[in-house]
């Protein structure tokens, strides 16, 4: 239509600034959602809108790309920990652990029991603090800000415990190949952790009332962004998103690592596959994580060293594992988080490839789920999928 065409001078001006103006017809228009939008966390989606409905969504990642995989090839093995943990900020212990587990497997180290116990506790604490972070994001997206503010405050308790354990609040650089970097501070720390677990267990009822059992949550999430079992498996969706469509796949059960075979916990599964199911699966998992932490505290830290005894560890920058490769993965709050490490016998890894769970559910799946949704559903779908942009960009 002629009256809708972009004026010529506007076109040349746009081209001079390296921009393109797409021709649009009367009803559809293009909307850039993110990277500044708070819901997207430095992620960008280009939406083709028809009124209030999304006709087509194109994911546009890359705003967080920092080239970690290339950088990891230029650094010694132990230095890489401080780099790779920055992949997933709310759950920074997960990249540490998968990388360390893969290197352990290449070297052939059996991690001491005490280190395994500490690693399991750290992973579960990371999961709990990541759940709190997720409640903050999700609560804010649907307008229940109080829940988000509570969650941020409770996350602070875990941050404080982490600070005492590792010296860092967000980035811990704690789990290293062969064990952990230092021992737990003492019984007082364990008591504090138990207090925190008890405290948050008591607060779950409040979260139910304000967020999970809330009329607003049901209204906003029920029937939004539905996927079925076959679709989810073909698209390699993992974690709570997969369990919300009825597949009981949990890395902690199916490919056990650390102390998980000795622990008792359930894998919550729902069948609906919509946003509400994804929210509720996460809520049940929070309870299971608290239960796991309680069991670990009852078990108590086993005595022994917290690091393997190996002469090679004395000259860390020149530490050389044998040739080989390994893939290790753990269950994070986002899903199946894995790392593939290839060693060629030198003191630097030949290749590190990190599998972020959002890589599978944050690109094609998101594009599919957004088709036909309302504009107001975009943050809800993003948050219930728990899309973590640095998983995709790395």
């Amino acid at each position: 239509m002629s009256n809708l065409e972009v004026p010529k001078e506007l076109k040349t001006e746009a081209k001079a600034h390296d921009m393109y103006l797409h021709p649009i017809d009367k009803d559809t228009y293009e909307l850039f959602f993110g990277p500044q939008h708070m819901a997207t966390e430095n992620f960008s989606i280009i939406l083709k809108m028809d009124g209030n409905r999304i006709e087509r969504a194109i994911v546009n990642p890359g705003f967080l790309h920092r080239g970690f995989e290339k950088l990891a090839e230029q650094r010694p093995y132990f230095t890489n920990i401080a780099l790779l943990l920055r992949i997933c900020v709310p759950e920074s212990d997960v990249p540490e652990n998968i990388y360390s587990m893969a290197v352990d497997e290449i070297v052939g180290w059996e991690v001491p029991e005490r280190a395994q116990w500490i690693r399991t506790v750290v992973l579960e604490m990371a999961r709990m603090s990541a759940w709190m972070f997720w409640i903050m994001g999700f609560g804010n997206e649907i307008g229940l800000y109080t829940a988000g503010q509570w969650a941020a405050a409770y996350r602070e308790r875990f941050m404080r415990l982490f600070e005492e354990l590792t010296g860092g609040r967000v980035y811990h650089i704690y789990t290293v190949p062969g064990g952990v970097r230092r021992d737990i501070p003492g019984d007082r720390w364990l008591r504090q952790l138990r207090d925190t677990v008890e405290y948050i267990k008591g607060k779950m009822k409040d979260f139910d009332e304000i967020l999970f059992d809330n009329y607003i949550t049901f209204e906003r999430t029920e029937g939004v962004g539905v996927m079925d079992k076959r679709f989810a498996l073909k698209h390699a969706v993992t974690g709570p998103n997969l369990r919300a469509v009825g597949v009981p796949y949990d890395v902690r059960k199916d490919d056990p690592y650390l102390l998980y075979p000795e622990l008792e916990f359930e894998v919550p599964v729902l069948k609906e596959g919509d946003s509400l199911a994804r929210v509720l699966v996460r809520r049940y998992e929070m309870e299971q994580d608290l239960y796991i932490l309680e069991q670990l505290l009852d078990m108590g830290p086993p005595s022994g060293p917290y690091m393997v005894k190996d002469a090679r560890l004395k000259a860390l920058p020149r530490f050389k594992p044998p040739r080989g490769d390994a893939y290790a993965h753990v269950e994070s709050t986002k899903g199946d988080f894995g790392a593939y490490v290839v060693s060629d016998g030198t003191h630097k890894p030949y290749r590190v490839h990190v599998r972020g769970p959002s890589q599978s559910h944050g690109v094609t799946v998101l594009e599919e789920l957004l088709k036909g949704a309302r504009l107001a559903d975009v943050p809800v779908i993003l948050k219930t999928l728990d899309n973590c942009p640095p998983d995709i960009d790395r």
Partner: protein, 199 residues
């Protein structure tokens, strides 16, 4: 390629070769669920080599021209394509593609390895078996320059347009040289004569 780094890379790859041969030529399969799974697949696909690595980890080696056929067979047992990793073996002039599969029903992780020449690297897409492959292939194309025939979305994905078609994860990508052309004088504090820079 930085002249200071090149001999190092060649050294590394040369050592790799003798180790791989005995690993593959030992197709003794244990009597476990992993062993049965490998035997079952190898019966249908005699052109592949397979072995059990450890509990819940199996490994296959497939020639590049039959990879699609093999993955089609494997997809009956392995429901998920976890990732496609590419390793650039510079000295041998080959890319190693590792298709990592996970079987939800059997709880087994499989590496499916294949090697293709670095020059004009081409592979058939596996999008029709696992639609998620689209994302992984876009990434592999962008960082390594492998063309996946049949994937309609190969193009700028994560990198900026100025970095497109530069393939930064290849081993012969001159990282310091590229950074110098982009950032120019700001980069002068780096000393070229040092070989093992940790950036």
């Amino acid at each position: 390629m930085d002249m200071n780094e090149k001999p190092k890379v060649e050294e590394k790859v040369e050592e790799q070769k003798p180790q791989e041969v005995p690993e593959v030529e030992a197709p003794k399969l244990p009597d476990t669920k992993e062993g049965k799974l490998v035997a079952e697949l190898l019966e249908k696909a005699p052109y592949a080599e397979g072995n059990v690595r450890r509990e819940r980890r199996v490994e296959f080696k497939v020639p590049a021209d039959r990879i699609k056929e093999f993955l089609e067979l494997a997809s009956e047992k392995f429901e998920m394509l976890i990732q496609i990793s590419v390793v650039d073996w510079l000295k041998e002039g080959e890319f190693e593609l590792v298709y990592q599969l996970w079987s939800v029903s059997e709880s087994v992780h499989a590496f499916v390895r294949t090697r293709i020449p670095r020059e004009n690297a081409k592979m058939p897409t596996v999008m029709d078996i696992w639609p998620v492959a689209e994302t992984y292939e876009r990434e592999a194309h962008e960082f390594f320059g492998i063309v996946f025939e049949g994937n309609p979305r190969l193009g700028p994905f994560i990198l900026e347009p100025r970095e497109h078609e530069k393939h930064p994860l290849r081993k012969d990508f001159n990282m310091i040289g590229y950074v110098k052309t982009i950032y120019g004088e700001d980069f002068d504090r780096y000393d070229e004569s040092k070989t093992n820079y940790v950036i």
